[in-house]
Symmetry: C2
Subunit: 197 residues, 2 copies
DNA sequence: ATTATTTGATACCAATCGGTATCTTTGCAT
DNA sequence: ATGCAAAGATACCGATTGGTATCAAATAAT
């Protein structure tokens, strides 16, 4: 890796941690220069402005999470295990997060939902990708006769995502993973009882 | 009402809207002076500093929401309707919010969850009160033989709150209430099937 | 009506914000 | 080794931040 690429990825890495913990607006350029040991000159060499850095940081987070998620989904052979590994990714996230600061999607959504910022579009795209991933699992499960044909795949995605995101909020606020664990357990029971054949 | 009390409540009211939409950190004193038509001198006469204004604004929001919620719960005569009116309060919140900007608890939680700010404690207290409200409904439902004795009231609260908060996030991001409606419908089915006798 | 007190406006403060122009240094190709 | 382009450091910019000291106006008490 070229030295300039090392610099860029170091900026990105530190910015990711800061944005996801402190928030995007609350993180200043000097926070990033302090964390990286670099100067503003170096940062603005690689990023047009702070907003572009925010966007690249968010996209970088989501890509790495989805890459891992898709790999794990593909590694499972049946619908049950595919859905379960989505739940387990969230459950493990509290103790072993990809990025400290909680779920990047939840963080960005609540910060920008009343704005017209580009980040809101990116968050919306991310949510759509996430929903589609779950819906696809359910649809494929139907064709493989593993999922009840009357199940609404959109509902499955909505229920799973909303419960998990809300549980992340609760667990983060209480510094405890008992809530996310309870929600995951409950979702597993529901999937076995009402979704799978 | 004394004229100074009118001023204070006007500041509080405008601050509430700004904090809940733009965010607490992102809202500046000049945002508030612009919204109220008052000056900083007037604001700092009634509030020690910005942090105290933030705290009073958040508490004010939560008190008015919980007052309404407790009244509605009390007005219902059975467990089913008591639980349902909690769900319906959230469902209506997207179209007819008490305060624009989404759920104050979700907003504050995601903004301060990685800090040690006083607001985090206030959010934590709010979550505890909310959980207790739901748990109490379920416990009373057991004594009235309306709720299955094996039901875990803590789980009911966790599942309801996490789903609703997550659904608020999704609906706000997508500018659509279809997700919160789907979640509420799903929770109602679950309550009837698995919680009530 | 005349004080005394409360309330709100004005003007200011140092610190920090995102951003840029300029200069020096580094790394790479020849 | 030399020359050149890319990368990073330094120093600055105007605007805005939360906060305060001071003064004028409005209200309340006598």
């Amino acid at each position: 890796m070229k030295s300039s690429e090392i610099t860029k990825s170091k900026v990105l890495q530190e910015a990711i941690t800061l944005f996801n913990t402190k928030g995007y607006r609350a993180t200043s350029l000097s926070d990033i220069t302090n964390a990286t040991g670099l100067t503003k000159g170096a940062i603005y060499r690689h990023f047009e402005n702070k907003e572009q850095l925010e966007i690249e940081a968010f996209q970088n987070m989501m890509h790495s999470i989805f890459n891992t998620l898709q790999k794990r989904i593909k590694a499972e052979s049946n619908t049950r295990d595919k859905l379960f590994c989505v739940l387990e990714l969230f459950q493990d996230y509290i103790n072993n997060p990809f990025f400290s600061g909680g779920c990047p999607l939840l963080n960005v959504s609540t910060e920008v939902d009343d704005t017209t910022m580009v980040l809101k579009d990116k968050a919306l795209q991310t949510l759509t990708v996430f929903r589609n991933s779950i819906e696809t699992i359910v649809i494929n499960g139907k064709t493989h006769k593993e999922v009840n044909a009357i199940v609404n795949e959109k509902l499955v995605a909505i229920v799973m995502i909303s419960s998990l995101e809300g549980a992340i909020m609760m667990s983060k606020l209480q510094d405890s993973n008992s809530d996310i664990e309870a929600v995951v357990k409950h979702l597993k029971n529901w999937i076995v009882a009402d979704v799978l054949l």
